[in-house]
Amino acid sequence: MNSATQTLDTRVPANPDEPVVVFENVSIAFDQKQVLKNISFKVKPGETRILLGPAGVGKSVLLKLTNGLLKPDEGRIFVFGEEVSAMREEDLFKLRGSIGTVFQEGALFDSLTVRDNVGFRLEEEHVPGDEIDQRVTEALRFVELEHTLTKFPSELSGGMRRRVAIARAIVTNPNLLLYDSPTGGLDPITSTTIIELVVKQRDVYKTSSLLVTHRLQDAFTLASHRFNRETNKMEPLPGDHTDLKTSFLVLFDKKLVFDGSTHDLVHSDDPFIKEYIS
């Protein structure tokens, strides 16, 4: 996929010295109901940050703030060094060219085929048709769905739709991936397949990512596994090791109550976290 996806005009190259995402005291409320309050954290290049928290705590809101789909009431958000919280919508469209987003239910365009869904951004960039076909096929091969090119989303299973959504997010080789509950509502086997793809993207392409989930088993699978390119499969890290580039954020009651490594999370003394991960 790399060779074909290097030349999008909209790509913003990540500076290796600066964080990809920075939240500074971000707060947002809807209809005078506070959802997030004073949220601050960073995502460094190549890092995968797993955002945990109970349902309805504002995890998806935080992702939408990251790519500028929502604006914070207070605080600042930087992505690739640009302040998305202060950017005009027209400028955000360009920046989003280097951010891939996987929505909670996939959010595939139901009137378009899988090929047109995955190649949507390429069509918008006026990439030649042959190149679109090639890059879409490669992205679909990554999620092992290259046989579904001409199908419509309604003809796919829930798990397949999520995989197509991942293919759509990675087709332009973005520098940042946002996953909004990619395994929500899926059975354990399909969830593992999706997590394997996330691990593959993390370990093969080293893409920075922010992943929202409330499924602890998926989060710990991500932290405790690596992708083996020779066997083309995910495998557990030896011993009790965890992936050093994968760390956790925990949201609870409008606030970020944890920001740290897998080890710190497991050994946290915070009563909520203890109860949450038990």
Binding site: T10, K64, N67, L69, E89, E90, F93, K94, R96, G97, I99, T101, F103, Q104, E105, A107, L108, F109, D110, F120, R121, E124, H126, R168
Partner: protein, 259 residues
């Protein structure tokens, strides 16, 4: 369910008008910004224009017919049955053609736009489009506005023509009037002011249909129930606005042209 206070309801109303104005303004401004979605405009023109042709023809024909049928008996009491053609053509071209065509297109397409965009809203497809770097106002709303205005203009002309023919069919075959006299009075009574009045209206009505349909679609909340609510509101509001705007335009045109 608590009753909203007067100030809350007023704020909500003002906010809705502001959002509607912003959506319409931004969508129209996108007409002059790249990329220009010509293919999407043609697709929408086909759906809205060609798709609405059968109902517009049927409505126009029978409206012209019933107009001739109802007015001929009244006119004959004054010995003016020969004026049926004039009455039908003036009524169709100045009022009934634009208004009825717009109401039919509103029922068919404002609802279609609201439900299509509303479904996309509640399934996060609109957010997905924005996240993919595409402006939905440019890709989805602008083509619908342009296509509706453009096609409604021509649909109105078709409706006017078919309505006049419907009136002629009734006058000649049911009322036994002279065909050439019908068309002669229909043609002679028309002035440029009448034609202009009849063709200015669909431009405004097309704008109302598309922007109201898209506004309700793009502000849909609350799942499938919300989509249903948006669809209903789009048809009701656009229909009422069409009739109210028709009065304003008619008064304005009479002020300018004196007829």
């Amino acid at each position: 369910m608590p009753f909203p206070t007067v100030d809350a309801a007023a704020k909500k109303g003002v906010n809705a008008v502001q959002q509607y104005a912003l959506l319409s303004g931004r969508a129209l401004a996108n007409l002059f910004r790249k990329p220009f979605y010509a293919a999407d405009i043609i697709t929408q023109a086909d759906t809205i224009g060609i798709g609405s042709l059968p109902i517009v023809i049927l409505t126009g024909f029978f409206t012209g017919g019933v107009l001739a049928l109802q007015t001929a008996s009244s006119l004959s009491q004054f010995g003016a049955a020969a004026m049926t053609g004039q009455l039908v053509s003036l009524s169709m071209i100045k009022e009934l053609g634009p208004v009825l065509t717009s109401l039919m297109v509103s029922g068919r397409n404002a609802s279609g736009m609201a439900s299509e965009l509303g479904s996309m809203m509640v399934t996060e497809q609109i957010d997905a489009m924005r996240a993919l770097g595409t402006d939905p106002l440019k890709k989805l709303v602008m083509p619908r506005i342009v296509a509706t205005i453009f096609m409604l203009f021509f649909l109105t002309i078709v409706s006017d023509a078919v309505g006049t023919l419907g009136g002629a069919a009734v006058s000649v075959f049911m009322l036994g009037q002279d065909g050439s006299q019908y068309f002669h009075t229909a043609y002679q009574s028309l002035h440029y002011a009448d034609i202009i009045q009849g063709l200015v209206k669909p431009v405004f009505f097309g704008f109302i249909i598309a922007t109201i349909g898209c506004y309700y679609g793009m502000t849909t909340r609350g799942g499938t129930q919300g989509v249903g609510r948006s669809t209903t509101q789009a048809v009701v509001v656009s229909s009422v606005l069409i009739i109210a705007t028709d009065f304003v335009i008619s008064r304005f045109m009479i002020g300018i042209f004196g007829r």
